[in-house]
């Protein structure tokens, strides 16, 4: 379990528009990697290209290589559905399925794929995933209530539980805390720390302190100018990034002097 990701010369397009240009990086396994950078610089696009969610948008495509566990994700022989089963994703806005209960939401990845399992097995997966997501104590008495009835922070943790219930190798998180209050944010950050021992985690965040708190490595993305494609400015261990960054642009962004 838990794989590293090697990205080489990755160009990401929306139709003819080049959104992200020439990315090279290695995401280490069992670590947290954070992507930071100004809005519109392609952090989320980059993240979505790591589990082939990018191409869900009509016209979106990718050139270059993303290699996970020795296999190139964009090879014609690769099934995108199988990729997404191995590389889970948590979105910016909590999106539990409105027609399902809390219990069914956690099992959605299994149920929607018509995987047959015994009741005891299903119960075990639900309990384990919810405990992992720090939500079990809050919802164990109302597992059959709709998932939409939970608070925003609880819904987001439910989505995390749903993502880890299918035992992915890698977990991608696209600004998972941007819609949450500080208490829920701190709960999710604790969770990321715990999950790190089992999963490879990549997180996009606008919150510099969050990146500093949770991540081992950080990638800083920036735009050369408006209308230009985004690119990876610097990729370094977080400690180095926040103390002695290689690039002056990184330092300017991190210290709040944008430019």
């Amino acid at each position: 379990m838990a794989k590293s990701i090697d990205v080489s010369d990755l160009d990401i397009y929306y139709g003819d528009f080049l959104a992200v240009e020439g990315v090279n990086m290695t995401v280490k396994s069992r670590s947290v990697t954070a992507f930071i950078g100004p809005s519109g610089c392609g952090k989320s696009t980059m993240l979505r290209s790591l589990n082939r969610m990018h191409e869900v948008i009509p016209g979106a495509r990718v050139e270059g290589k993303v290699v996970v566990d020795g296999q190139s994700l964009y090879d014609p022989s690769i099934d995108p559905v199988a990729v997404r089963r191995q590389i889970g994703m948590v979105f910016q806005r909590p999106n539990p399925f409105p027609t399902m209960s809390i219990y069914d939401n956690v099992l959605a990845g299994n149920r929607l794929n018509a995987k047959r399992m015994k009741k005891t097995e299903a119960d075990a997966i639900v309990e384990k995933s919810l405990k992992h997501a720090n939500l079990w104590e809050e919802v164990k008495d109302r597992l059959n209530k709709p998932g939409m009835g939970l608070s925003g922070g609880q819904q987001q943790r439910l989505c995390i539980a749903r993502a880890i219930a299918v035992n992915p190798e890698v977990l991608l998180m696209d600004e998972p805390c941007s819609a949450l209050d500080p208490i829920s944010t701190s709960a999710i950050e604790d969770l990321i720390h715990e999950l790190k021992s089992d999963y490879t985690i990549v997180i996009v965040t606008h919150n510099m302190q969050q990146a500093a708190r949770v991540s081992d490595d950080t990638g800083f993305f920036n735009l050369k100018a408006t209308g230009q494609p985004g690119h990876l400015v610097e990729f370094n261990p977080t400690r180095k990034m926040f103390s002695t960054p290689d690039d002056p642009a990184t330092e300017a962004y991190i210290s709040g002097r944008f430019g």
Partner: protein
């Protein structure tokens, strides 16, 4: 100090002011109504006009311009609402008044077979015909309509094929029902010979009329399903078709059911195409594929066309049954919608 006080209070008319003006308007319009013998309709119309003038005037004097405009527009909205509701209530009232005397156990359980002149006849054959033909049309049109909508929203988004289909569906919406009937007739005559008449032909004609409505309403419902949910499903490694079947359809099922019932309500009252293809008969026919079949609208038409008092009464009775049928369908749709709609709450 007084110069810095905010001016946020202003004189207001009391809550009972509209009621008082309405009563006075009715009284004022009542005077000429009594002396020159106006009908109730004329009286209410005159009172409405008086209210429309008096209420904003009073408000203008006491409350100011903005409140007066508000009162005027509020009154206009209520008047429009009344104008929209009046025909509906009137229609229901007339149908119930004329139709209720015709309804009894025999009327609902006998056909018109061998009924001569003033004898008690029944609508059972027409009821069966309506239910069978509408059911067949629903079975044919709902899968076609929903699958088309799925293609338009999930697969063909923005493609040339989708645009062409959308255009054709819009054209289909405008097909006059009699043309759909003639098309079904010529289709079945080509296949089975010139004298062929059957309920199935009627069902095909109604299907043509239902498909555009089902496509349009389902399409709207699928578009309302947030892309977040589709992406959540894809991100769990769920294939597209399973996402559609297990996430998109259940999320939108309530709206789709409503759309289907609206489509049924629209075609259940069709007369012309059924008269052409399914013909008319006095006896019960439960075989969709053999022989003429009467539906309620055709029954109403033929009874009314007979121009006898008993025929008129049967026609009104049939009309009442048809309206009740549509109402029951709508109720069922509401209940289904409520059961399946995404659950909320804590």
């Amino acid at each position: 100090m007084s110069s810095s006080t905010m001016h946020i209070s202003s004189p207001r008319l009391p809550r009972w002011a509209p009621g008082l003006v309405a009563a006075m308007a009715l009284a004022l319009a009542g005077l000429p109504a009594i002396f020159s013998g106006w009908s109730i309709v004329q009286w209410v119309l005159a009172a409405t006009v008086v209210f429309l003038i008096a209420m904003p005037l009073w408000s203008r004097v006491v409350e100011g311009r903005r409140a007066a405009v508000d009162r005027l527009v509020t009154t206009l909205v209520w008047v429009s609402f009344g104008c929209a509701m009046a025909p509906l209530i009137w229609l229901l009232w007339v149908v119930v008044k004329n139709g209720l005397p015709a309804i009894n156990a025999d009327f609902l359980s006998y056909s018109m077979l061998n009924v001569v002149g003033e004898e008690q006849g029944g609508i059972l054959h027409a009821l069966i015909g309506t239910l069978l033909i509408t059911l067949a049309a629903t079975v044919l049109s709902v899968p076609i309509g929903i699958l088309t909508a799925i293609y338009l929203v999930e697969y063909g988004k923005g493609s040339r094929a989708a645009r062409v289909i959308t255009f054709l569906v819009d054209v289909m919406t405008g097909i006059p029902s009699i043309v759909a009937g003639l098309f079904a007739l010529s289709l079945f005559v080509l296949l089975f010979g010139p004298a062929y008449r059957s309920g199935a032909g009627g069902a095909v004609a109604l299907t043509l009329l239902m498909i555009p409505t089902v496509v349009r309403s389902s399409e709207e419902m699928f578009r309302l399903v947030p892309d977040d949910l589709r992406e959540a499903s894809y991100a769990l490694g769920v294939p597209k078709w399973r996402t559609i079947v297990k996430v998109v359809l259940p999320t939108s099922v309530a709206g789709i059911v409503t759309g289907v019932v609206l489509a049924i309500s629209r075609v259940i009252g069709e007369t012309a195409p059924l008269l052409v293809v399914a013909g008319a008969t006095d006896g019960i026919n439960t075989n969709l594929f053999d022989g003429r079949m009467t539906t309620l609208p055709v029954f109403i038409y033929s009874q009314y066309a007979s121009s006898t008092p008993v025929g008129y009464q049967r026609a009104w009775g049939g009309a009442l049954v048809l309206i009740v049928l549509v109402m029951v369908l709508n109720l069922i749709a509401r209940i289904i919608g409520r059961i399946f709609s995404p659950a909320k709450g804590h």
